[in-house]
């Protein structure tokens, strides 16, 4: 009986693995707003958006807006969880941006193109500006169901929105 149970669950796990291997759980649409700041000098901020497991292990980086590697360390949380690793961020890296609203689309896949499976994750948003401040927010999100969330920044990013489109 025990053997059969083990066998059954093995099949279930195997099927689940098969199912998950080619389907990502959800897509994300992130509307991020970088505010106009009346400061001199103004440098465009470095921005990182990434997903972690609930245990705070890096899953994938969704967007990275940066210039020089020398300052990557100032994205303190992103640097410790993702940046300092050997991962290749080329596919999600872009130039820094002027103040304005931007839409970041995530296709549900990690940096190596593997689908990210359904479940609970932590979405991290970090914005840091040279000679300016730093804003960091981390929030729980469930990739198993549709949802809409708001992230309030303190200064370096304005109220921003996340839409989860589960598959």
């Amino acid at each position: 009986m025990l053997k059969i149970n083990t066998f059954c669950s093995a099949i279930i796990i195997f099927t689940a693995a098969l199912f998950q291997s080619n389907t990502s759980a959800a897509e994300l649409e992130i509307e991020l707003t970088l505010p106009e700041l009346d400061v001199q000098p103004y440098h465009r901020p470095y921005v990182a958006v990434w997903l972690e497991t609930p245990q705070r292990k890096h899953v994938t980086t969704v967007a990275l807006w940066v210039e020089k590697a020398e300052w990557f360390k100032d994205l303190r949380q992103w640097w410790r969880k993702a940046g300092k690793s050997d991962a290749n961020f080329d596919g999600v890296t872009g130039a820094t941006k002027r103040p304005g609203s931007y839409t970041i689309n995530w296709n549900g896949k990690d940096l190596e193109g593997n689908p990210v499976i359904a479940g609970k994750y932590l979405l991290n948003l970090e914005v840091v500006r040279e000679e300016g401040g730093r804003d960091y927010k981390r929030m729980e999100l469930d990739l198993s169901e549709d949802g809409k969330m708001t992230i309030a920044g303190k200064k370096e990013f304005s109220e921003s929105f996340i839409t989860i489109k589960a598959k």
Binding site: A69, K73, W79, K84
Partner: protein
């Protein structure tokens, strides 16, 4: 026999505690790195300041170069690279009256363990004929010890004054292997407010159990209370701390033991480790 052993262990522990507390008021020594975490592909320099002071991380008294009157000392500060090798580049620490400053090149990627390179110090304590306490730097036969002195006790003291810096990623820091030092599991360059760090205190590379440590946030000049956090290592030498505020911290500990070395009564080990805690 067993009981006797246990007894002497207990007595030893008591002596240890008594000594530890009596020397706890020794001046703090510290290193302050200009950076603890660096990124980018090219080699970086990090600036290390060293001083002896009671106001933590406010410089007060520099270490004197070994050669009298010298403006610098190339043998004051050492660094172990991410592979555990001693950095062979010259580390020139300038003597600046109240502090010493040195630039250390981080040629490799990973974590550097940077420390003061110091010889053990020998001090002799005594009571003179009038019963006044005194201390000299040197062994029992030092000529500065007055005739008729009593209760002569000689102490050999090893201090670890160290910090950690990582370039383009972290690696398991190399151990000094002698004296007191801290080791993982938490990486010393991955400390954030609100998170619990777990370290193991080692003495000569082995776990140091039941040792009290003081965790002291720097900039004591700018507050009235020192607000140090006291923790004690467990049987395997582990201790934990959850950081309340971002900033530079000094981890202090001292252990004193009876010595088996001829002419030395007590051996004392002290620890002064600087750690950098980031805001969340």
């Amino acid at each position: 026999m067993k009981i006797n052993l246990l007894k002497s262990a207990l007595v030893g522990a008591l002596t240890l505690t008594a000594l530890a507390s009596s020397y706890a008021s020794a001046h703090a020594q510290w290193l302050v790195p200009s950076h603890t975490s660096l990124s980018g592909d090219k080699a970086h320099y990090v600036m290390i300041d060293a001083s002896i002071s009671n106001e933590i991380f406010s410089a007060d008294k520099a270490y004197r170069p070994k050669q009298k009157g010298a403006e610098y000392d190339d043998n004051l500060i050492m660094a172990l690279d991410p592979n555990g090798e001693l950095v062979s580049d010259r580390i020139r620490a300038y003597y600046l009256q109240r502090k010493n400053s040195a630039a250390v090149k981080l040629a490799d990627e990973g974590t550097y363990h940077i420390a003061m390179k110091r010889e053990p110090r020998i001090m002799t304590f005594y009571k003179d004929a009038q019963g006044e306490r005194g201390r000299v730097f040197g062994p029992k036969n030092s000529k500065d010890i007055p005739a008729g002195a009593k209760d002569i006790r000689t102490m050999k003291s090893f201090s670890t004054v160290d910090t950690f810096v990582s370039r383009n990623g972290t690696s398991k820091p190399a151990l000094l292997g002698s004296g007191l030092e801290i080791s993982g599991p938490t990486h010393p360059n991955d400390l954030f407010v609100g998170e619990e760090a777990r370290f193991q205190l080692l003495k000569d590379g082995k776990p140091a159990a039941n040792v009290e440590l003081a965790i002291l946030k720097g900039d004591t000049r700018y507050r009235n209370e020192r607000n140090e956090v006291k923790v004690t290592t467990d049987q395997q030498g582990f201790f934990t701390n959850t950081w309340q505020h971002p900033g530079l911290y000094l981890i202090e500990a001292s252990v004193s033991e009876d010595s088996t070395e001829k002419g030395i009564d007590t051996v004392r080990y002290a620890l002064f480790t600087t750690l950098d805690v980031a805001p969340e």
